[in-house]
Amino acid sequence: MYNEIHLVLPEHILFMISLQRFRISSIISCLIQKGYDEVTAHSVSFLLALSEGDKDLSDFEPTEDGVKYTQFVETQCFNGFKLDLPSDVVKSLAKKLWIKITDGSRGEVTFTEEELNLMKKLGINI
């Protein structure tokens, strides 16, 4: 038979496969706690995923005015979130980047000065 032992949480953390889901959910939880609306919080998580070099974006999808993380699960906010980001710019930038990524060569979008600054601030280079 299988040998079952239950663990308590470890001090320093590692794990594999689908961890992106929990990392991104934690970011969204932090942002919602900080007072951002849901669309902005989800859109920020999309921008941060790009900024951190995530290639797997299959759990994101566009909404009317931003990008949503479809696998969000309410979780704890561990690391806090220090950035202060303008909601409108975040949402429009996320939506434009989604179009640019998914429409290939047809995905030509024009970024505003504010959006370009935000991309630079987050280190997004697409």
Binding site: E4, H6, I17, S18, S58, Q71
Partner: protein, 405 residues
């Protein structure tokens, strides 16, 4: 017109055009791809395949389309999308996608070569592997289905919303309405039993693609969501099933790295048509290098396991830093599959739903859903499987604290 018997829906009716697609060898291939990977090692009767699920999804989508208030969609194309939505599944279904995740770290250049050959040109992936491969197969291996491939690209890659997405890729889509019932039946459990006729009566899809339930349908809405929740919690996320799938995923990734499975096997039309569960099982049997995986699956020489659940699991993974991910994969790869990790999250996603209460429409995407429907707590489970204590001790030393009970 052909009528095919089905244990879930009674008869599935196929017209000549649909029958021609069903008889195509690429669709027939789905007869040899198990719906739920290695679930049959835990639930012995779970031997059903992507083939009958695809027919069932087509059947339900056809009924949903008939019920649409606005038929501002290409009906023929959408029925074919439903029929062909899983055409890109490779051996053991989603287990193969887990293998691709491992391959990403195990042999990145081979991973990139595969993605490039199936037409994923950007460095970003916005769809699942089987969805990309499905589009590739429709465009390159089957004739006359370019419009279906383009529609699948819109729905799965670009994720454009609306009625079409609601039919095949959202909360109450035809895919879920079929697999919950079908899996319940073949797994021998009752969690996923739902009254399909009732749901299709109390639910309508509006012109924006939202599922609208009147007050009288609120219990049916909850019943469906809870059925799905328990199927995930008790069946799909079963720890032994999860570990078996992870062992197979590791073995598949290793076989691709070692060229036992060639890149062409999963990227050339001539090869894909024969790339089925049997192909992998035969390779496992034939090749001594994969003996430990063969023995696990065929002789049930088991992995020991340790489990994290609920708050412990939440604490564990929420803190996980991205930078460490590669390091952990490297450890798993170095262990040569002697340690694998499976994780699952069971929650109740409710998207695209409007409740119509006494004439007032409440869009659940825009309010606190818990005020209107009962939503159970998310369950998270992490299972660490290992062959020998030495490997586990190394894992524990490097990646877990000493706070074990």
């Amino acid at each position: 017109m052909k009528r095919i018997r089905d244990p879930i829906h009674g008869y599935v009716e196929l017209d000549d055009e649909i029958l021609k697609i069903v008889d195509n060898e690429f669709f027939q291939r789905l007869r040899y791809i198990k719906q739920n990977g290695l679930a049959y090692l835990v639930f012995p009767s779970a031997n059903h395949t992507r083939f009958e699920h695809s027919l069932g999804t087509f059947h339900i989508a056809s009924m949903m389309i008939n019920n649409l208030e606005s038929k501002d969609i290409d009906v023929d194309v959408m029925k074919k999308v439903a029929l062909l939505h899983d055409i890109g599944h490779l051996p053991f279904s989603h287990t193969f996608e887990d293998a691709m995740k491992i391959l990403f770290y195990m042999d990145n250049s081979k991973y990139m070569e595969i993605m490039s050959k199936i037409g994923v040109k950007t460095p970003y992936e916005t769809a699942k592997f089987h969805e990309y491969l499905g589009i590739f197969i429709l465009k390159n291996c089957m004739e006359g289905l370019e419009d279906v491939a383009n529609k699948m690209e819109e729905i799965y890659v670009k994720k454009k919303g609306g009625i079409e997405k609601s039919l095949i890729s959202s909360t109450f889509d035809a895919d879920r309405l079929d697999y919950l019932q079908r899996d319940s039946y073949y797994f021998g459990v009752r969690y996923g039993l739902i009254p399909l006729d009732r749901i299709l009566t109390v639910m309508r899809i509006n012109s924006s693609g939202k599922y609208v339930f009147d007050s009288k349908g609120r219990d049916d809405l909850e019943h469906f969501l809870i059925a799905r929740y328990h199927m995930y919690s008790a069946v799909y996320s079963h720890p032994v099933k999860g570990l078996m799938d992870m062992v197979m995923a590791f073995a598949i990734a290793k076989m691709i790295k070692d060229n036992v499975i060639s890149v062409e096997d999963l990227t050339s039309c001539e090869k894909i048509v024969n790339f089925t569960d049997d192909f992998i099982l035969m390779k496992l049997k034939e090749n001594q290098s994969y003996r430990q995986f063969y023995e696990t699956i065929y002789k049930r020489i088991k992995y020991k396991k340790k489990i994290l659940e609920d708050q412990d699991a939440d604490n564990f993974i929420s803190k996980y830093p991205k930078e460490k991910e590669k390091e952990l994969y490297d450890f798993i790869i170095r262990s040569d599959g002697r340690l694998v990790i499976y994780n699952s999250k069971t929650d109740m996603p409710v998207e695209n739903v409007i409740l119509n209460i006494q004439g007032k429409e409440i869009d659940l995407d825009k309010v606190d859903k818990t005020k209107y429907i009962n939503i159970p707590k998310c369950r998270i489970k992490i299972v660490i499987g290992y062959k020998d204590d030495e490997t586990y001790k190394e894992f524990e030393k490097n990646y877990l604290s000493n706070k074990l009970i």
